[in-house]
């Protein structure tokens, strides 16, 4: 089947892709867990953006629109693939161990991968993209209350492996309390 390519790409869209695709990819790879899926998700999100670029470009925050599409695509993708366990991260190549505590790093990432897709997206948008709870609710199409509850549950799971040095700052954490009792 013959397909007619677009004669030109709007300069604004080309600039947007050049400027923001890397940031979108970084978000996607954290939610998706592997670079190939992340690449597909970003590609799909940008394709959809292109379709409405005339209107998107006039928005105050076009990236927020794209990020919304990206996050929803990611959640939908992993819901559709819900029967398949997420694989551990597929890194580009062997890299020097620059992180001071790789055990903890890997443990946190492993827990992240095991979270439900929407909960994982909440964490990435909150603690990597630095969005507010209101913005996350808008991006994911859920209530602020759901954002809070999802983030709270996710952090509770992460606490079990992160074991922060300042125990006194979260005395209500049952997992840590149990650990303290074991070590006492």
């Amino acid at each position: 089947m013959k397909r007619r390519p677009p004669p030109t790409v709007e300069p604004g869209f080309a600039e947007f892709v050049a400027a923001r695709s890397a940031a979108l990819f970084r978000t996607a790879v954290l939610i998706a867990g592997d670079r190939h899926t992340a690449e597909d998700l970003v590609q799909s999100a940008l394709e959809r953006t292109y379709r409405h670029w005339g209107r998107v470009s006039a928005m105050d925050a076009p990236e927020a629109y794209v990020r919304r599409i990206l996050a929803n695509l990611a959640v939908d993708h992993f819901r559709a693939a819900g029967r398949r366990p997420l694989e551990l991260l597929d890194h580009d190549a062997a890299v020097p161990d620059v992180y001071p505590d790789l055990d903890e790093h890997d443990a946190v990432i492993r827990v992240l991968r095991e979270l439900p897709p929407r909960m994982r997206a909440v964490l990435v948008l909150r603690y990597f993209d630095d969005l507010t709870e209101v913005q996350i609710a808008e991006v994911l199409g859920i209530t602020v209350g759901t954002v809070k509850s999802q983030a709270s549950r996710a952090l509770a799971k992460l606490r079990e492996v992160m074991d922060p040095p300042d125990h006194a700052r979260a005395p209500e954490d049952p997992a840590r309390s149990a650990k303290e009792q074991r070590t006492a």
């Binding site: 869209f13 597909d40 394709e47 959809r48 292109y50 929803n72 994911l140 759901t146 922060p164």
Partner: protein
Amino acid sequence: MTTIEEKLTAILTDEADRHDVPAFSAHAIAQSAVAKGFWRRRHVPLIAAIGLAGATGAGGAVVAAAGHDGGGRVTVTFQQDTTGWVHPPPPITVDSAVVRDWVLRRAHAEGLTGIDVTVRQDPFALVVTGRAADATRLRMLGTTTDVLFAEARSVSSETDDHLLAESRCVQKSDIGPDQPLCDRNGHGYTFVISHDGRARAVSAHAVRRGPGVRDWAVAVRFDAAGAEAYRRQAEDRPDQSTADQRITVEAGPFHLGDPVISQPLTDGVFESATGFTRQQAQDLAVDLLDPSPEDGLLLLTATVTPAAHG
């Protein structure tokens, strides 16, 4: 921000830094967007494109369909669709005998006769030959059925962040009911698949709900796993009323649009909206009872050509 939150931010940043960022081409993205024409979910373009081809007589964006007489017989070749993928999807690996039996069973249920079926591997191709007069229905033999649980309230990733005008909330269909794209408030749907990926029907049959030709619906009863999947789906949306939970079925060109579930689906029973002819409702019931032997068959394109003689 607590210590844990700060540490999590650092770990996420480190993790993101460990991946080389690929180069995205604006031109390639635009080209792919234009080529696809429209999209919703990965297998929906196939369905929509078939409907479009039927309505306009032209090939759709995904399905290349060129009808020819071919001396009274045509060959429909189903192949894996790799359109629009940055990385090719995994190749289809199926049990040839299972797929062949599935197609023949569906053909028999739909009253199609004189069907020849061949399954080729590497690359996958399902080749069905039959009467040219049955070309449209032959093209449906390789399509699969998927039951989806949809939520209506979330802002859809497929539509704008503004409410859609009523006229844009329905996709016209010549086969079955028009396809609703929005909820009652004008928000686009976000489709989510069931937890188990697929809910299977244990019974499905056409039921008449009015005197008109298109007053037929399909009554469906899920298996226990399907009913349980719906229950869990509803539980996962505690902030959403059950009136906004919908079950949709995507099967070839058919789409059971807007069978709003107004109460928990505890018994696994639901009925579609009306809008089908008797034949369509019966065909869909057949599809629901025998959806697909292999998940990988979801991404098939169909090409119709004159059957080779001899």
